[in-house]
Amino acid sequence: MNWITNYVRPTINSLFSRREVPENLWSKCDDCGTMLFHRELADNQNVCTSCGHHMGISPRDRFTALFDGGVFAEVEVPEPVQDPLKFRDQKRYPDRLKAAQKKTGEKEAMLVAEGEINRTPIVAAAQDFGFMGGSMSMYVGNAIIAGAERAIKLKRPFVLFSAAGGARMQEGILGLMQMPRTTVAVEMLKEAGLPYIVVLTHPTTGGVTASYAMLGDVQIAEPNALIGFAGARVIEQTIREKLPEGFQRAEYLLDHGMLDRVTPRTQLKDELTTIIRLLMGMDPAVVADLPAPAPAQPEAKAATPAEKASDK
């Protein structure tokens, strides 16, 4: 992928799709029930403008909001063996994959990109909970390794947004082996002296928390994100008692010393910029209007999220 596909194509698409009237102009906040205008919600990165509840966001929408001018280039991820175990439960694994691809419009559960945030170059990876629960597959492992390698090559920090239920059962032990594999990627970043920052988003559980998602140099979480190793139901059945309010939520983990910060999505970009520039020994980001982008750029930025919303 390059700037043509990421930036020119959305612009062209937006010219042609503009006349379509989106079916769902309003969506309801999962938490407070307020009806939210889709464009307003997209502009606020799927955070309820009324109660601040953080709803899920696709990696592509997240990157569009995160990177300067919504411009980023995807990092290529090596393809793993398809369906290595010929796994079949009630459905065949390849069918589940196809359904997830159709639903999300993405190839797999992780997107890796390079770009700039507040003119600070980074490599970022984001996990897609909408794609088979974000589960850690060989592709996800490859994506993290590719992202780390790219960051090392470009001498940039690596920012990872996690969201997953755990390892992908349909890849069996090979799914589980992404725990050590991704840990190797984290080690490579450490050796290269590059910051590895994890942003835990709702929900991040299981083998994902027990590997790359808990090994960040700085650990940030989005408000109220569910983060834990074991599921609450399993714990309640094991210890036979009710778990306290807010158990395994970001704020609870912060209280127990497991996180550095809990930061709302809309403030993440600036906060990541500050931390990265401090760690990389760079001057503070310029707090002023950035030079005017090329004419087509603002349009691309506005059109992409709206267009996505109208597709749903």
């Binding site: 793993p80 063996v81 398809q82 369906d83 290595p84 175990l85 010929k86 796994f87 079949r88 439960d89 009630q90 060989m138 492992g141 390794i145 390892a167 992908r168 059962m169 890849e171 069996g172 032990i173 090979l174 799914g175 589980l176 082996m177 725990m179 050590p180 594999r181 840990t183 190797v184 984290v186 080690e187 299981g206 083998g207 928390t209 027990a210 590997s211 790359y212 998602a213 808990m214 090994l215 834990g228 190793f229 074991a230 599921g231 399993v234 714990i235 094991t238 210890i239 008692e241 778990l243 306290p244 158990f247 395994q248 127990h256 010393g257 497991m258």
Partner: protein, 319 residues
């Protein structure tokens, strides 16, 4: 002796033979030896038959067999001067994880493993081999100690999984597992791991990320228990047989996937039928694997581990 569900017919025959012999003991003029011997023969044929082709689910049952030799048995039999080292220096000592310095073939090693316990009291004390964060942090501490003094590490894996508890979560179960895996990858000494029973998900990865991984013939290593997988994907925990099949969790499958480097044969009828033989064959495997690694030094050992894990999954199983 405890019999597994699929061994019921075997239990009947062996029970009958035992009954006959008991009768003969109290009644010396009775000659039952011929009959009993016939039953013995029948039992051993059946045993051979049952264990020739164990289904994945049956392998799970054998791997979890209550009489199977556990970490403690291996440490007592295979190592000398075993000196347990306790505690994570932060919170507690986790009895689900045992570990300490010892000698293997006269040479210093660090041995670490999950211990399940063998009766009600010890099982509770060992928390059924389900470690808490303290267990993983103890293992990190011991691995780092071994690393500083150039002592090879041997881990024995036998856990249903990490403990799902309130305190365990609050004290960072996932972080502890992640750091333990990280430490496994980082040490510059040989690290050999043997799955002696159950390799339960992340709780096992934290110990089993090794230069060489060996598995007992009827041991398993899986992303999730068959019961857990069945209840999620089949929406029915009773479908564990199908799940066990689909997950490819046997030593033989893992060997084919290049995750397991060596399968250690078990005595006929499983490790629990002849503990000494099972323990001896694990000892032999550890010896072979240590010898394999003896040529590598320091950073090479770490690079070997990295290369192994980065390369994993480049091939799948044939259909």
């Amino acid at each position: 002796m405890n019999y597994l569900e699929f061994e019921k017919p075997l239990a009947e025959i062996e029970g009958k033979a035992e009954e006959l012999r008991a009768m003969a003991r109290s009644n010396p003029e009775m000659d039952v030896e011929k009959e009993a011997a016939a039953l013995d023969k029948k039992a051993s044929d059946l045993l051979k038959d049952l264990y020739r082709t164990l289904t994945p689910w049956r392998k799970c049952q054998v791997a979890r067999h209550p009489d199977r030799p556990h970490c403690k048995d291996y440490i007592e039999a295979l190592f000398t001067e075993y000196t347990p080292l306790a505690g994570d220096r932060n919170f507690a000592d986790d009895h689900a994880v045992m570990g300490g310095l010892a000698r293997f073939d006269g040479k210093p090693v660090m041995v670490i493993g999950h211990e399940k316990g063998n009766d009600t009291k010890s099982r509770i004390e060992r928390n059924f081999g389900m470690a808490r964060p303290e267990g993983y942090r103890k293992s990190i501490r011991l691995m780092e100690l071994a690393d500083r003094f150039g002592v090879p590490i041997i881990t024995l894996v036998d856990t249903p999984g990490a403990y799902p508890g309130k305190g365990a979560e609050e004290r960072g179960q996932s972080e502890a597992i992640a750091r333990s895996t990280e430490t496994c990858l980082n040490v510059k000494v040989p690290l050999i791991s043997v799955v002696i029973g159950e390799g339960g998900s992340g709780g096992a990865v934290a110990f089993a990320t090794a230069n060489r991984l060996a598995m007992l013939e009827h041991s398993i290593y899986s992303v999730i228990s068959p019961e857990g997988c069945a209840s999620i994907l089949w929406k029915d925990a009773e479908k564990m047989r199908e799940a066990a099949e689909a997950l490819r969790l046997t030593a033989q499958d893992l060997n084919e996937l290049d995750i397991c480097d060596k399968i250690i044969p078990e005595p006929l009828g499983g490790a629990h039928r002849d503990k000494d033989a099972a323990i001896k064959s694990v000892g032999g495997a550890i010896r072979d694997l240590l010898r394999d690694l003896s040529k590598m030094k320091g950073k090479e050992l770490r690079d070997d581990r990295r290369k192994k894990y980065l390369g994993l999954g480049s091939k799948g199983l044939a259909a």
